[in-house]
């Protein structure tokens, strides 16, 4: 019988387009302090392992794990980096606890996107250096290509994507973390993708404290299922008309949680681009979920996109809704953005 993993605490900081005068370390410290306070734990003695999610070139620092322990209370403790989105870090926390090597784990992911002057260049360096980069295209071009193919194959309409953007931004009005509730700009970006259908980056940090069931507080939200998967990294051989990795990740997460899509009460899914929300809902088998129960936070379109922290932002919103009694089973899903094809899913239950 697998050990059940609960969410003992959540903390966040930032969620603003810029955070001038505050370093990424200080953003992390603020979020970590809030999470530990929420969990009622002292990280110096009661957190057994720390997982941080970051990518070097995003940060402008090689071997980024060098720069994380101090502000997390993790000095001379087990710390490692997952070079991926924060939801992969959450999955890692679940594995660490289920393996018995830790009973309480902190999972962290952050964005200091405002430090990066040349974001487009960073994303471009995620493209294949031999075949794709020499073409000189902005990496987001891939989103335009994928959206076109997906619309063509599924018969969905661009207006549905526009509706997603409008609804998420409307949802964002009641979210204190949201910075982009008022964006209305239908001008083309990478046609058919429009500017208002693409999430804008924000600075911020999310920290979750996970713990084994015996230490979880009364009424805790549990992480009952996790799944993650990878599709082809190559532009030349990937599937362009569905989110295959998200589908496999969801299947694994549902299986381990013992739930069906019909059991899901609310979802926070990746909406880096509006069409991705629809594509991801399809992959998660959640097309029939009430739209007002999807990305009620406003998603990344409304809150802003936390780069590798986006998955934990989705998880945070999901956990908050479940804690508020708005449902029993919630799903959070992430995708790493262009040109990646990797996805992760977590099933939460209260």
């Amino acid at each position: 019988m697998a050990v059940r993993v609960g969410v003992a605490g959540v903390g966040w900081s930032g969620f603003a387009p810029t955070t001038p005068g505050v370093s990424y370390k200080e953003l992390m410290f603020e979020a970590a302090r809030a999470a530990y306070a929420d969990a009622g734990v002292d990280p110096r003695t009661e957190v057994d392992s720390f997982v941080c999610c970051s990518e070097d070139i995003e940060e402008g620092t090689s071997i980024m794990d060098e720069y994380v322990p101090d502000q997390l209370g993790a000095v001379q403790r087990p710390v490692h980096t997952v070079a991926s989105d924060g939801l992969f870090g959450l999955a890692t926390g679940v594995m660490l606890i289920r393996s018995g090597v830790a009973s309480t784990v902190a999972a962290e992911a952050h964005s200091k996107a405002s430090d990066t002057v040349s974001t487009g260049r960073v994303d471009r360096f995620a493209m294949d250096p031999v075949l794709n980069r020499p073409l000189g295209l902005n990496a987001t071009t891939l989103a335009g290509l994928e959206m076109r193919r997906w619309l063509h194959v599924t018969g969905r309409d661009e207006s549905e994507c526009a509706d997603v953007a409008a609804r998420n931004r409307e949802h964002a009005r009641s979210n204190r973390r949201a910075s982009y509730a008022d964006i209305r700009d239908p001008s083309p970006l990478f046609d058919p993708l429009t500017r208002e259908q693409a999430a804008e980056p924000v600075d911020g940090c999310v920290v979750l404290v996970l713990t084994e069931e015996s230490k979880a507080p009364a009424g805790a939200v549990f992480v009952d299922g996790v799944g993650w998967s990878q599709d082809a990294p190559s532009v030349e051989s990937r599937e362009w008309d569905r989110a295959a990795a998200a589908q496999r990740a969801a299947a694994a997460a549902y299986r381990s949680a013992g739930v069906e899509p019909g059991d899901v009460d609310l979802a926070e899914v990746d909406d880096t681009y509006a069409y991705k929300q629809l594509q991801h809902l399809d992959s998660l088998g959640l097309n029939d979920l009430d739209p007002d129960r999807v990305n009620r936070s406003g998603g990344a379109l409304g809150e802003g996109h936390l780069r590798e922290g986006n998955g934990l932002a989705r998880a945070l919103a999901c956990i908050e809704r479940l804690r508020a009694g708005e449902g029993r089973v919630g799903v959070a899903q992430s995708w790493r953005g262009v040109p990646s094809t990797s996805a992760a899913v977590a099933v939460f239950r209260r």
Partner: protein, 583 residues
Amino acid sequence: MSQRVAVVGAGMTKFVRRAQETGKELSAIAAREALASCELTLDDVDAVCLTSAPDAFDGVHRKGDYLSDGAGAWGKPYMRTYVGGGSGVFTAIQGWYTVASGLADVVLCVAEEKMSSCQPHPQAAFITIFDNIIERPLGPNLLWIFALEMQRYMQAYGLEKRDIAQVAVKNKQNAAGHPAALLGQADITVEDVLASETLAWPVQRLDVSPISDGAVAIVMASEEAARRMTDRPVWMQGVGWNLDTTYWTNRDLVYPEYVENAARMAYAMAGVDEPRKQIHVAEPYDPFDYKELHHLEGLLLFDRGKAPEAAADGVTARDGDLPCCPSGGLLGVGNPIAAAGLMKIAELFWQLRGEAGARQVPGTPERGVAQAWGDLMQVGTVVVMGNDGGPLTTATASPPSELRATALSESEFRSATGAVEQRLDTLYDWDAGEAMGAFLDGLREERILATTCVSCGRTLVPPRKFCERCFRPTDGWTEVPQTGTVETFSIVHVTWDMRPLDQPQIPAVIRLDGTSEGGFLHMLGEVAPDDVQAGMQVEAVWKPLGERAGSILDIRHFRPVDPELRRELVAVAAAEVAEPSKA
């Protein structure tokens, strides 16, 4: 209770200075050999774990995604973890928890490094490992910090270079028996090491492991699956990892506490309470010769400062009482960083099955320890592995057997189709933050500011908004004297890309008077290299007011307090920062 996990297969490429193969291809070669070694295919694999060190080597952002198909991860759960140089051993830990958690039965772990893509020298990738605000402006390189640590270790225990060099000799001789080795040399002597080019005193060229390309893979399985696959599983008995503070100049470099912490974690899990009796073979991390000694002490296999003596007595030789790096280690086999760490796990697997051929340690070893290290001399990763006991099976063949990886010369690479040249020209504008911002403002005003923590009573330079030990906000600011003590230093003779310097540079860790411990990295000037000593009193020399910009370079350098020791300026404070590649 988690399930037992075994290593059931391993494979690797040859380690070479410059591989014709791409990183994906190197990964695929190692992965295929590891699977073949236990007669599995990718269909049998539930999840793939990958590691690779800085993305800047390959010039590929999200390198994990990029390498995924080469690592066999298409359509599978796949994750990349890393902890700098500790990554290779950590990947085995990642594989362990992936299986032990019950989320997978069979896992493929792949460690890849292709350092040669980074031009003009892989050191360029390391420039961006240093603190973006207070260290990178000084133009540091990796050799500096290892030289600083090596100097501190030698000084603390009164060691001579000869005591250190014997490790390089042992490992390069051991590697002569490794078919994948880049720098195996049976006839190397201590004199050869001592005569090699001085890079950053006390580091000489043969003290250092070679830049390399390569990949290693292992297959792990749950106990039930492992029993189906092999009658010689090698068990993952214990895992441990530990990361020390970012503020490496604030701690005593003489001893790797973080390695001890990681070792204690792994030993406790493995039920090892007397490691000197219960560990029969060791693969400590040896990117530099002194590091093997440093790490053997951190692994609690020798008393502090006593590993050199044991090495001199032959204890760590392949036929000694505690064979260390029988593979030849990084110094001999090569150092494709992440791959080199997993190579140590593979070596233990082969040693504990009796398959190591010419490298096989004598007797019937039942338990071994592998360890890696990295970051800012900051992380320890440790794995304890063991067999079921009894006599080792006599191997019919000595793996690794498929020794692919095609070595290219520089001219062959330059003339080949596909030598695609791109500059990683990303631009960052970092917020120094509240604490470091105030520190830089202070420098502009010719003041050195520290934060204080009333809980632990420390005065902190570099200052931070939080106390990392007490995990609470710091309490206030204080100005500290502009004088201090040289904790350790190096005499640097080469630039970051290994070109000779006209005049040596003298980086040092300086403990400022009035601070609680440690100090920060800066340069010494107005002193002859031969006159520099650990413990020397120094003082800050500032740029004129009009030239100060709120930068660590507002301090031009530190010079001896004793006027008798001052000379004409022989080393400049700020090396010209020819930063070729932002991370």
